[in-house]
Structures are given as structure tokens and as C-alpha cells.
């Protein structure tokens, strides 16, 4: 028996059937019927944001901190176009997200109707897939299909565009189990021959390294456990991309810190000099590789990825394994154990001695100060004062983001939400709201720069409306710090438009939103101020006035190789040379 319902009822019923508990959205003319249905039920909680972009980032924060897909509901035209940045962000960082957009009625499509946009056309390249539903009878099926596509294989954003007349019309409701099975079924089990080959080479490796990424987090908590087991059992040192932090604990014995442009010296040197590289759910992004022709020249490379198009896209690998990280790591461990748990112990011991020498360089040390708060110091104190708490960190984009990755330790997966691939300023504030909604009692801190933070500051309204206790920890240097750093390195310190003028008084701003504001500019007061922030039950804006011209080091200048890092006390003038200047 199929049930007849209106399109709007179908949308809400399908979301319920998919186990959705929270929707982030913003109403408008073309989604009013769906909002009317939301009004008449209590199972799904709707979070009203202040801007559609924020709805998408909040959904990303929700998704990344729970492992469940984030759901967004916005109207046609500007509602949809405002959501584009968040969808692109989710596409690049492989975040499962379902965006439902209203559309003008089918008979008006193509007429340049009020608030009409070619949403499907605009979002085609920034979604994994999208659908325009012109028939209420296939609406339920399409929504179930959308959840399937968003959450299987390499996760990503999908969009379902629903014209207003389809929302009003009656149609058959198809339940989730009755939905016809999609041919889209990415493989999850890795090829056993390739896995065996990868294990064989690992057993012999003198200088192995595991390079893990966001794919491990996406694969679920079990995959992180298996990754820990693999590294700890084989003794292979491990580094991770920005997106993969927390999969292996920062306190773990084999942890090298993050790699890449602002990664640690030991991680990058180990990547360059290793003889065996196991890439687990990462994609050889340009922030990671540096100059590709000098990337880890002497290593045997194994790449585990669920997306076949990630294989050999940037770096040619010797053994690709296509499959889900959790499944493949499980098989790898099984094979390795059944072959007698062999490792090249002597080789690895020498390798670890070498790594210890690199660690002794202490690449993250910086010049302290008694008079001004160094941003690194602020994060060190934040780390020390929040240690042991169930802590979720989001960030904006820029220097503070890299410092957060360098100076905060992540012990568990799903605890670090940041815009990696797209580098979206304005991500962190709404993402922190999404995280807090998913974890109401947890400590959620958005580590921000003042410029990024201003890009979605309207979301403080959302925070106070829902009493979200997020702590907005703003490292305020009155600069676009990373832009300024690049201008110093590449453009003769001509700081074109990279400073923040006419900044608001963040304490008063907090009060205007009904939140608490704290300002701190003296290192001696910092601990007390941070404790005041942590102890306050409610949203806080923390204006941490920091050193204005601090650079983020170490750094692989663009166009350079892993073993050509720039350290804190190196000369910075013209550090980016030749072809590197053309790179981002």
C-alpha cells in the first residue's frame, strides 16, 4: 500500500525515515509548504540560521562531528546561490550533506520568475549529484536516493530541487526499503592481491611512514581504531593531513604531527626520506606534496582510497587499493598477522633515531613575549587549559587555522572541523554552531581570526537564540594574517589591503547579541581570561589581541620540496621564488 501525501509531507516523512533529527535552514517563498509541515511536527528540529551559507557550514559541522549527514533546507534563487559556497566546501572535504532547495513552480521554470535561478545548473559542479523533481510521485524515492549518494562511496553534498507546485501536489510516498536500488554502489572491499603486496612491502620497509587523511575519519571510528592498531603494531611513524587530525592520537608514540605546507619538520622530512609510504584516505593535495617532482623520491607508494579518481591524479603510486579505509585496513592487518607480524625492526629503529634528530630541531618553537600575547602561546594555553575535556574545535581559515593544527592536540576523530580543501573564511562560526547542536553538553571552541570571523558573525544570533555555548576564540591581529605573510614572502612586504580597519568592539558586539564578551591583551592575564571563557555557561566572544606581524612557521614555500622548509628564524624576504610565485 502506498500512502498519498502532499509533496511537502513527503519531504518531512522522508527525512524522518532517514533518521534525520536536525535540519539547518532558512525559509522563503518557494519552500513555504515544507516549512508549514515542519511547523506541524516535533520529531525534526529545525535550526533557523541567519544566512544560507551558514546553514551549509553548520550542517558540515554537524556532519563532521557526528558521522551522520547534515541536512539543509533553503529557498529558491538567492537561498540556493547562498548555499553554493558550503556545498563546494563539502565537496572538496567529502562531507555528506543533503541540501533541499525550493524552486519556482514547474510551469514557471525558465521564465525568469521571481527568485528563480537555475539551481541544478549552478550546483552541478559543486555537488556529487543533484536532482530536479518535477513529479511528486518520485519525490520520496529521489530523497532516499539522495541520502544514499551523499553517504556512500566518497561522501559529498547532494541537492534536491523541489518546485513549489510539486510540494503542494499529492503523490505516492515510497518508503526507504521500497526505493529501487541504485546502480551507484561504490566498492568497499579492497583487492586482496593489492593488499597483500602492500603488506609485503611494509614488512621489508626500513623507513616506513603512514600518511593519513580525512578519509579515515569519514570511514568511521572503527577505521581510526584500525589505523592506530596498524601504526602501533608495525611501529610505522604516522603523519596526517589537516582533515585527518585525530584519527591517530596526538599523544601516540608514532605521531609526527601534521605534514604539508605548515606541517612539522619531522613529518615533512620523514615523508621526503621514507622508503615506504602508506597513504590512507588522503589525496596528495598541493598543500601536502609541495613540488610534485621532488615529492618523496625514493619511496614505494601505496594509496588506499574509496574514490578511483584519486589514484594517480597527482602522484603516481605503485600499489593502489580502491576501497573503504575501514575494510581495507582490517584486511591489511589480517594479512599482516597471518604472515607472522613481520617488520624490519632494525631498519625501523634506525629510522626512529633519525626522526628523533628531526624532532630535536623543535620546529614549533617561537620567540615568547612578556608584553604581547603570541598567537602560538594563546593556543598552547588553550590546549593546556582544556586538556582532558571532551573538546570539539572548529576553525576559520588562515594562520590561526594552521596554528590550531600545530599547537592543539587531537586525541580522537570527529573532534576537529575545518575547511581544508576550499579554505572558506567564515566556515568556523556556523560550523561550531552545528557541532554544538549535535553535542549540546560538549565544549565547542571556534579558533578564529578576526577577519574570517566577521564573515559569518551574524550567526551569533543563532548562538544566543539556541543558547549554544560555543566559545568564539578570536586571535585578533588586526590583519589578514596569512595574506600578509604571503605579501611579506612574495611581494616585498607591500601589505595591500591585508589589514582590518574599523573593527568592531568585540566585547560590545557580544553584548549586543546577548552573549558574553572577554578581551585579553596581556599574556599574564590570559589563563584567567580563558578560564572565565570556559566557565561561562553560554556563548562567548573572546577577543584575544595578539602579536600583529607573527608569521606561521615552519613553512614549505610554494614550489619547494618537503626538505626545503622555511623555519621560524630563517630570512623571509623573497622566500617564494621562480615558478612558486605563480602557485597559490
Amino acid at each position: 500500500m502506498t500512502r498519498q501525501m502532499t509533496g511537502a509531507q513527503i519531504v518531512v516523512q522522508a527525512l524522518k525515515d532517514q533518521g534525520v533529527d536536525t535540519v539547518f535552514g532558512y525559509p522563503g517563498g518557494a519552500v513555504l509548504p515544507i516549512y508549514d509541515e515542519i511547523f506541524q511536527q516535533n520529531q525534526i528540529r529545525h535550526i533557523i540560521v541567519r544566512h544560507e551559507q551558514a546553514a551549509t557550514h553548520a550542517a558540515e559541522g554537524y556532519a563532521r562531528s557526528t558521522g551522520k549527514p547534515g541536512v539543509v533546507l533553503v529557498t529558491s534563487g538567492p537561498g540556493a546561490t547562498n548555499a553554493v559556497t558550503g556545498m563546494t566546501d563539502a565537496l572538496l572535504d567529502s562531507i555528506p550533506m543533503i541540501v533541499l532547495t525550493g524552486q519556482v513552480p514547474t510551469f514557471m521554470i525558465g521564465n525568469d520568475a521571481f527568485q528563480e535561478a537555475d539551481t541544478i545548473g549552478i550546483t552541478r559542479p559543486c555537488t556529487k549529484h543533484n536532482w530536479l523533481v518535477k513529479d511528486t510521485d518520485i519525490l520520496a524515492e529521489t530523497i532516499h536516493q539522495a541520502f544514499h549518494v551523499a553517504t556512500t562511496g566518497r561522501p559529498g553534498p547532494v541537492l534536491v530541487d523541489i518546485p513549489k507546485d510539486v510540494q503542494f501536489a499529492m503523490g505516492d510516498y515510497t518508503t526507504k526499503p521500497k526505493t529501487k536500488i541504485s546502480h551507484y554502489q561504490p566498492r568497499v572491499k579492497g583487492d586482496i592481491d593489492a593488499i597483500t603486496k602492500a603488506v609485503e612491502m611494509l614488512e621489508k620497509a626500513k623507513r616506513p611512514i603512514i600518511y593519513s587523511g580525512g578519509g579515515v575519519i569519514n570511514s568511521g571510528v572503527g577505521a581510526s581504531q584500525l589505523l592506530r592498531e596498524l601504526s602501533d603494531a608495525t611501529g610505522a611513524p604516522i603523519t596526517s593531513t589537516l582533515m585527518g587530525l585525530g584519527a591517530y592520537p596526538a599523544s601516540g608514540d608514532n605521531w609526527l604531527g601534521m605534514l604539508g605546507m605548515h606541517g612539522t619538520y619531522e613529518a615533512n622530512m620523514a615523508m621526503h626520506d621514507c622508503d615506504y609510504m602508506l597513504c590512507v584516505g588522503a589525496r596528495f593535495d598541493d598543500r601536502i606534496t609541495g613540488r610534485t617532482d621532488a615529492f618523496s623520491p625514493n619511496s614505494y607508494k601505496v594509496h588506499i582510497d574509496i574514490d578511483p579518481s584519486s589514484i594517480n591524479k597527482i602522484i603516481h603510486v605503485d600499489t593502489p587499493i580502491i576501497g573503504d579505509i575501514g575494510h581495507v585496513l582490517e584486511d591489511m592487518l589480517k594479512v599482516w598477522k597471518s604472515r607472522g607480524r613481520k617488520t624490519n625492526a632494525a631498519g625501523i629503529a634506525k629510522w626512529k633515531a633519525q626522526i628523533a634528530e628531526w624532532k630535536a630541531v623543535e620546529c614549533l618553537k617561537y620567540k615568547g613575549s612578556d608584553t604581547v600575547i603570541k598567537p602560538q602561546y594563546a593556543l598552547e594555553r588553550l590546549e593546556a587549559l582544556t586538556k582532558g575535556r571532551d573538546r570539539y574545535i572548529t576553525t576559520e581559515v588562515g594562520q590561526h587555522q594552521m596554528w590550531a593544527a600545530q599547537y592543539l592536540g587531537f586525541e580522537d576523530p570527529h573532534r576537529f572541523m575545518t575547511s581544508g580543501g576550499l579554505g572558506t573564511m567564515g566556515y568556523g562560526t556556523p560550523a561550531s554552531m552545528g557541532v554544538q547542536i549535535a553535542h549540546p553538553d560538549a565544549l565547542v571552541i571556534n579558533v578564529a581570526g578576526e577577519a574570517s570571523w566577521l564573515m559569518n558573525m551574524q550567526e551569533m544570533g543563532t548562538a544566543t537564540q539556541y543558547n549554544l555555548q560555543t566559545k568564539q576564540f578570536i586571535l585578533n591581529n588586526e590583519r589578514l594574517g596569512m595574506v600578509r605573510q604571503w605579501q611579506e614572502l612574495l611581494h616585498g612586504s607591500r601589505y595591500s589591503h591585508s589589514w582590518s580597519e574599523s573593527l568592531p568592539d568585540f566585547v560590545k558586539l557580544a553584548e549586543a547579541f546577548g552573549a558574553k564578551g572577554i578581551r585579553c591583551s596581556d599574556p599574564a592575564d590570559l589563563d584567567d581570561a580563558i578560564m572565565e571563557m570556559l566557565n561561562h555557561e553560554g556563548p562567548v566572544i573572546f577577543d584575544c589581541l595578539v602579536e600583529k606581524h607573527e608569521n606561521c612557521f615552519p613553512m614549505i614555500p610554494s614550489g619547494a620540496a618537503h626538505n626545503e622548509m622555511l623555519m621560524g628564524d630563517d630570512k623571509t624576504e623573497d622566500a617564494i621564488k621562480g615558478k612558486g610565485g605563480a602557485l597559490v
Binding site: 545548473g121 552541478r124 549529484h129 549518494v149 546502480h183 551507484y184 579518481s309 594517480n312 591524479k313
Partner: protein, 186 residues
């Protein structure tokens, strides 16, 4: 056979022709892609090529399975071996795409293209056009006292040759379908 299971740079010819997967030489490949026949699917495929900077030399598309709502897209593309592999992988992961096959490396295949040529002229040139059309087994599908429309089917190279011969004989209009291709045998 799935194109992705083939070894990188494999060639349908002998082992001596095996290509270096990291090589710089530009190759031409004919891909055949089975897709859901749904609105916008062609835009997705073309958007992939334009968005990622790949080349399309020729593209044909039509529904081939009405019951199953499937269409076949035949794409002739060029690129280094690494780029060709990437194109196939990028296509294969798209949701409405059922299969991607690289006819250039997966064994023998046949390729055909249809062209229509309008040739106008009188006297000796008109007779010569007719005589050459006969040699190329082109059909006359329309005629007036001063013009022919020829229909010719064959490999793109054969059509190229015929078009070049017709140019000095009064070629005024040309329509080509692009390549359709199938693997030989079962």
C-alpha cells in the same frame, strides 16, 4: 571489461607498443559511456570535461535503450596517458554513469561517422564530384540541377579525405555526426 581494471598505458597492439603511463605523448582515445537517460546528463559529462580542462574531439549521444532509460555517449578525447586514465576515473565515479569503456585499449573496435556534404557546381566539376562520390561509396540523398547532397559513412579519416576532395569541387555545407563506435566480437 572495465576500463579501470586495465593496466595503465596498456595498448591494444603488441607488447612493444606498451605506453609509459607517465609519458608526455598525446594520445587519442575513443571512450564509450553508458549513462542514465535523464535530464542534464550530457551537461554533467561536458561540464566535467570543461571544468577539468580535458579535450573533446568528438561527442555523440543518443538513447540506445528506451526501456532501461539508457543512452550511449561516444567521446573521442586526447591527452597524455595519465590524463586519459584520470578522465575515465572521473567519468566512472559520476552517479548517472553505468560504465566507461576505452575502445582504444580494450581490444579491436569499429568506428564510424556519418557526414552530409552539399556540393554545388555545374559542368565538369559536377561530374567529377559524382565520380568521386561513387569511388567513396557516398550516396546522393538530394539533387538539383546545380547541387548534390552526399551522404557518406566511414571512419573519420575516410570522411576527412572525401571532404578535402569535395572542397575544390564546390563544397558549400558540411554536417558531421561525430564518431559512433563499438567493440568487435562478442
Amino acid at each position: 571489461m572495465n576500463a579501470l581494471t586495465l593496466k595503465n598505458g596498456a595498448s591494444k597492439k603488441s607488447a612493444y607498443d606498451l605506453k609509459n603511463p607517465l609519458g608526455d605523448e598525446i594520445e587519442t582515445h575513443t571512450l564509450t559511456v553508458i549513462v542514465d537517460n535523464e535530464a542534464g546528463v550530457l551537461a554533467r559529462v561536458i561540464g566535467l570535461f570543461s571544468g577539468r580542462g580535458y579535450n573533446i574531439d568528438s561527442l555523440t549521444v543518443a538513447e540506445t535503450d528506451h526501456e532501461g532509460h539508457l543512452s550511449r555517449i561516444t567521446i573521442v578525447t586526447t591527452g597524455t596517458p595519465a590524463v586519459i586514465e584520470q578522465i575515465k576515473a572521473q567519468l566512472d565515479r559520476m552517479v548517472p554513469i553505468h560504465s566507461v569503456n576505452d575502445l582504444t585499449v580494450e581490444g579491436p573496435s569499429v568506428e564510424r561517422e556519418l557526414a552530409m556534404l552539399k556540393v554545388t557546381g555545374k559542368g565538369e566539376k559536377r561530374v567529377e564530384a559524382m565520380r568521386l562520390a561513387d569511388i567513396f561509396r557516398a550516396n546522393v540523398v538530394d539533387t538539383t540541377l546545380t547541387s548534390f547532397v552526399f551522404e557518406i559513412t566511414g571512419t573519420p579519416e575516410k570522411i576527412d579525405a572525401f571532404v578535402e576532395l569535395m572542397r575544390p569541387l564546390g563544397l558549400t555545407d558540411l554536417a558531421r555526426t561525430g564518431v559512433a563506435a563499438l567493440a568487435r566480437g562478442l
